[in-house]
């Protein structure tokens, strides 16, 4: 079990989604090293039972409790602060 487990929900893998994903991976590599796991959920291809209402959404699966952020992905620090994952 990794220390941090995240799920990124996107509507489809368009240019914007790719950009967010790249940003997210870069941030996680820098801050969590190998201690994280990232799931990518492309809703256009997956059969998710209860997908998020609004996208893009980043869900902290672990540590529990599950935390869910939606909205602006331009500032990774802000997202991580929302998910209580901001490292020093």
């Amino acid at each position: 079990m990794k220390e941090v487990e995240l799920s990124l929900y996107v509507h489809t893998m368009d240019r914007l989604s790719n950009k967010i994903l790249a940003k997210l991976i870069k941030y996680c590599d820098e801050h969590f090293g190998e201690r994280y796991k990232l799931h990518l959920v492309d809703l256009s291809k997956s059969t998710e039972q209860s997908p998020p209402l609004a996208l893009p959404a980043l869900v902290r699966e672990f540590p529990l409790p599950r935390r869910h952020a939606v909205g602006d992905f331009t500032d990774m620090n802000k997202i991580m602060l929302t998910l209580n994952l901001l490292t020093q």
Binding site: T12, P51, P52, A54, P56, R67, V70, G71, T74
Partner: protein, 602 residues
Amino acid sequence: MDEIRLLFVENNKERMIAVNTLIHKIETPHIRLDWLVDDRKALEHLDEYRHHIDVVLYAINSPDKSVKTIGDICDKFPELALIVISEEDEVDALRWIELGAQDVWHPQRLSVDSVRQAILFSHGRQQKAQRLHELAGNSSQLEQRLNSIIQNDRDSLLVVDQNGMILYSNPMAEKLFKRNASELFGAVFGIPVAGANSDPVRVIIADAPDKNIEMSVTMIWWEKQKAWLCRLRDMTQYHMAQEMMKENEEKFQAIAAGARDAIIHINEQQNIAFINEAVVTMFGGEYADILNKPFREIFNRQHDLTGLVDKAREEHRDQQREIHLIRADGSNLPVDISVSVFKRKGKRQLVCILRDISERRRTQFQLMQTQTELKEALENLKANQRKMMQMEKLNSVKELAGALAHEFAQPLQALYNYLHLIQTSDAHEVYFQKSREMLNRISDLTGSLKNITSLRKKDYLDSQIIDLFASSDPISFGNGTRVLIIDDEQEILETLIDIFNNAGYICRGAADGQDALEVMEMAEFDLIISDVMMPRMSGPTFFRRIRDEGYTGFFIFLTGYEHPDEERKLMAQADAVIHKPVSFNELLSKVESVLMKAEVNV
């Protein structure tokens, strides 16, 4: 507070008097007391005069009956303060408070002060309660209004708690998420992450991915907790409109950039709102130096242009004209200008379109020049034609004159010859008669000449007419020299033959070259005098012919005209060329000199 109006409901007269006595002792506030005995009447009175009563003082007679009356008063007239007078103990009396009474008095424990205080207290508390009640009414009104605004908002509104759960959704949000409010309540929306400076951010709604949604987030208090108010606005139409506008703008820009005419848009502040590249080309300067600057300041030198723009603005009418712009080097540039006035967002704006017509002008000028040149050429042509026609006319006059001269020359020469013969021969009568005939003929010719009015060249004619008065004494020479005279004019030939015979020559005549050849076959001649222009064979042809055939005698040409070079060369080979007009003496002396020359040469 001036007065408190009190209704006392009491069927015990003694108690009524006791309370009344106490109340009357109260100085301030002034209390006006109405007394009623019956509960039913009391309720009827309250119904009628509720606005004229502040406090109801109710004495309990039978508790069971009173419960109903007190309940009715509290329900129907909540704005009135109710004080109950009861002989029960304090604990039992509390039930009247619970029913809605403000206070409970015990009839044995009443004093002026306590009654006064109780009345004031009850009245004051009731007034406060009334105010609170009104406030509550207002607040519910306000809530209704706010609720109506939220319910009817065109944006989708969500209240989300700190864990991302939906606490509230308006009807628009239900539509957007395609779920009803109960389904949305408690559903996870996620913690909204707003953009920097709370700018709206684009989100995709999973159930409506085609819509272009912008989310803006505000922190609010919701049920004593911090929460986020998420406003989700559907921007699909807006973005579509914007894209269309952008596209239109791009099209317009492309058209304006490609246009050869200069386009200037002047806004209501008389600043230059738009120019195309043609303006920069026409006026020089930099694009950025012209844009958004005051029109008058930029085009202060172009008086024609600013004048026309002012006129269009004042008259509020389109203008069209041809004006001159002043170029940077001071020269003039002719342009066609049209100023259009229009209203945009209620404000008067202008658009000037300028077309450089210098090229057109140049072409026009060239065309005009060409036209002038053509006109001149045409006039020259006409003048030349006139000249040619005049020359032709002159030529024809010359020809006519020549012909006339010829006509006159014959009879005149003949007449001259006859006159000579009259002087020199014996047959005067014959020659006199012939001279008269000739004169008649000349007279006829003169008569016919009068009809030709256009004849102008008299001088020319005169020069051709042989001078009749140039005659002198006749010369006798000849010595039997054989002479052949050739002339197609019968009279001249005859007179010449007569003259030469008379002068001692042996003379014969021929009508033309051909005739002369025949004559020469039969006789030999020492001298031949020949006219030049003759029918059948001309003088020069005859001359060459006989030379070729071996004629070695003398040959003299007698002519009245200029001849072509070829003939002249041939004539020069003859012994002499005698030009008419010539007098007979001259002719004879010339012939004599030719013969003498030959003798000298021999």
